[in-house]
């Protein structure tokens, strides 16, 4: 501790000269080279600003003076704290975007740390993103974002990403094309008015995923969902509605939301929601009527071969049954059913697929069902009535002749029978 006041004194003496100008780092180092001013960095190692500054050499910011980034340090003694690094003196706009975007979401007084430039790009040794050693290089982005979005954070996105098809592919080949955080969310999203235009906004999401999945995007754009999205229907499903967000898994992964066992509940989150379907003039019985069929029951109990929603309706190219290109257009139904039921003919169109028993909608099934209901009720009333009469009579007979019933049931019975 004794060395610190001494170091500060010698530094102050050096500062009495003219203010640093041009590449005059040595003037700063008159103070900042003193070991007592060393700061502890993340690894626990103590490092002086001078030593840190040498890392600039040959990096993106080689040639800059200290004061270009630390303008408030021009005055001596410096204000304390010396204030934010002035990246926006060169990099116009970026800084403000990230801050305002985060502030929009966080209530006033929130203790959430809103990242600033240096949190991601580093301090003195900033490298261009194209450099594999840069913390913002494509290969290292998940680690970088994971520092704040790790498993114990309030927003633990990194762990679910690591389990996702993208995260696993990225882990296998970190330099490969697998999507990392910034591919979807953008590094420095643009702001229009109060709206932050990120790649994961509902309206922009399909295009974001389409950057890597162009064929799927084409199918989706032509589908009933894609068309509705471009018409501005906000409730319509986008890629993440079915596939999930950070935890997107391969469709063949049993934990995927689009694995055959999970397809019905994934589609059912909308198509079984009565209020949502009513809002858009659709029926909500597609999902429950599927669940009641053999297909639905077999699916529920783990069959992977039985038809689920996608087997008939398609996946990204779902179209309304009125569309002649739809797999469920009446003209195409024999072929669609025939994928599993070889020999299915146009007869499959004579009747309802998502059958809901009603007098007008399915009269034959309705009357068979109603007939059996009453046949069962009346038969059982008659049979149970006969049983109860028989039991009651036995009780009465037994009470009337208790001794005979106890002592010689056989002869008593024989007497009854005669």
């Amino acid at each position: 501790m004794a060395r610190l006041p001494l170091a500060m004194l010698s530094a102050f003496v050096a500062f009495l000269g003219p203010a640093p100008r041009g590449h005059a780092a040595e003037r700063c180092f008159a103070c900042h080279a003193a070991p007592g001013l060393a700061k502890r960095i993340e690894s626990g190692q103590r490092i002086t600003p001078e030593a840190e500054a040498t890392t600039i050499k040959g990096k993106a910011h080689a040639g800059l003076t200290c004061l270009q980034c630390h303008p408030r340090a021009a005055r001596a003694p410096h204000p304390s704290p010396p204030g934010a690094v002035a990246c926006d003196s060169c990099h116009k706009g970026y800084h403000g975007h990230v801050i305002s975007a985060a502030q929009q979401r966080e209530p006033a007084g929130s203790s959430i740390h809103i990242p600033v430039c240096t949190d991601c790009h580093g301090h003195h040794g900033i490298l261009p993103p194209s450099d594999p050693a840069s913390p913002v290089s494509h290969a290292r982005v998940p680690d970088l974002c994971g520092k704040c979005h790790g498993p114990n954070s309030a927003r633990p996105f990194a762990p679910s990403y690591r389990q996702s098809v993208h995260g696993l592919a990225h882990a296998r080949t970190p330099g490969g094309p697998a999507a990392v955080c910034t591919d979807c969310h953008g590094a420095h999203p643009r702001q229009e008015g109060d709206t932050l235009l990120t790649g994961v906004m509902r309206s922009r999401l399909p295009a974001t995923c389409g950057k890597c999945h162009p064929e799927v995007l084409k199918q989706y754009r032509a589908s009933v969902h894609g068309v509705a999205l471009t018409q501005g229907v906000a409730d319509v499903p986008v890629c993440t509605t079915c596939h999930g967000e950070h935890d997107i898994r391969r469709a063949s992964d049993p934990q995927s939301r689009v694995y055959p066992s999970h397809i019905p509940e994934t589609c059912g989150q909308c198509h079984g929601a009565v209020a949502l379907m009513a809002k858009h003039g659709m029926n909500a019985y597609s999902y429950p009527t599927y669940r009641e069929t053999y297909h639905g029951i077999a699916n529920e109990y783990g069959s992977e071969v039985v038809a689920n929603c996608a087997s008939c309706h398609g996946v990204h190219d779902i179209r309304p049954s009125s569309d002649p290109r739809s797999s469920i257009h009446p003209a195409n139904l024999p072929r669609t059913c025939g994928k599993c039921h070889q020999g299915a003919s146009a007869k499959v169109t004579q009747g309802r697929i998502h059958l809901r028993i009603s007098r007008s909608g399915s009269p034959a099934v309705y009357w068979v069902s109603t007939g059996f209901k009453w046949l069962t009720i009346l038969t059982m009333v008659a049979l149970v009535g006969h049983i109860l009469l028989d039991l009651a009579k036995r009780l009465i007979e037994r009470r009337r002749s208790p001794h005979r019933a106890r002592a010689g049931e056989g002869s008593a019975r024989e007497g009854q029978g005669q």
Binding site: G351, R352, I353, V368
Partner: protein, 241 residues
């Protein structure tokens, strides 16, 4: 063997064998069919966990179906081709007397009459059981084959007809199950005369006591035949020789 302990043959082994195959098949069909009718019951979860999904239970269901179809076909042939079958069938035909027996018994049950119905070889209770199996088998086998051969059905039959087959299969299954477990099981297992079980379905025999109680007319007919046999010239000759 004293006269009181005398046993009569009621069901031949052919009849007993048919009943056993029928019973086993129907129990298999009920056990593996109900889970599909009530898929969210704990029973369904139990069965489908045993069979790891619906496939294996479906295979077992079809084995039961083969049993039911086989015993049905055999029974038809037996009825037509054998003297024993034809005789039993005649005794099982519904008659006006059955309706009168129902009325007599109901009046006796409610205390309006002292007279109880006296049955021959088959009471109306047993005739109901027998003919219910016809009704049930026709519906269950007919609709069941549509569902079994659903690929063919989707070629030849409108979707609505397949739906009707499924509905009838499910509805009649419940009716049959209730009839068996409530009506049939009361009459042969649970009622105080037979509890816990009438053994006739296994031994084929019935005691004189039960014969007199449940089938007095049949007993009298047998006695009549015995007397005729004793009085016939053939037996006289035998006695004389």
């Amino acid at each position: 063997m004293t006269r009181e302990q005398q046993e009569f043959e009621r069901f031949s082994w052919v009849i007993r064998a048919q009943h056993i195959v029928l019973a086993a098949s129907v129990l298999i069909l009920i056990a593996t069919g109900l889970p599909l009718k009530y898929p969210h019951s704990s029973y369904a979860r139990f069965v489908f966990s045993l069979t790891h999904g619906v496939h294996v239970s479906g295979v077992i269901h079809r084995i039961g179906a083969i049993g039911l179809i086989a015993v049905g076909v055999f029974h038809m042939l037996w009825l037509v081709l054998t003297r024993q079958g034809r005789a039993n069938f005649r005794a099982l035909l519904p008659r006006f007397q059955d309706l009168k027996d129902v009325l007599t018994n109901v009046l006796w049950y409610v205390g309006l009459s002292d007279k109880r119905a006296r049955f021959g070889r088959f009471s109306y209770i047993e005739k109901f059981d027998y003919w219910a199996v016809y009704w049930g088998s026709v519906i269950m086998i007919g609709s069941g084959l549509v569902l079994w051969l659903v690929d063919r059905a989707m070629h030849f039959l409108p979707k609505a007809v397949v739906d009707v087959a499924l509905e009838a299969h499910s509805d009649e299954a419940l009716l049959a199950t209730l009839a068996i477990f409530v009506w049939h099981f009361y009459n042969v297992h649970l009622n105080p005369d037979h509890f816990p079980m009438s053994t006739t379905w296994l031994t084929g025999t019935i005691s004189k006591e039960d014969m007199l109680k449940h089938h007095p007319l049949d007993y009298e007919e047998l006695q009549e035949k015995e007397r005729e046999a004793q009085a016939s010239p053939l037996s006289e000759k035998a006695n004389g020789g």
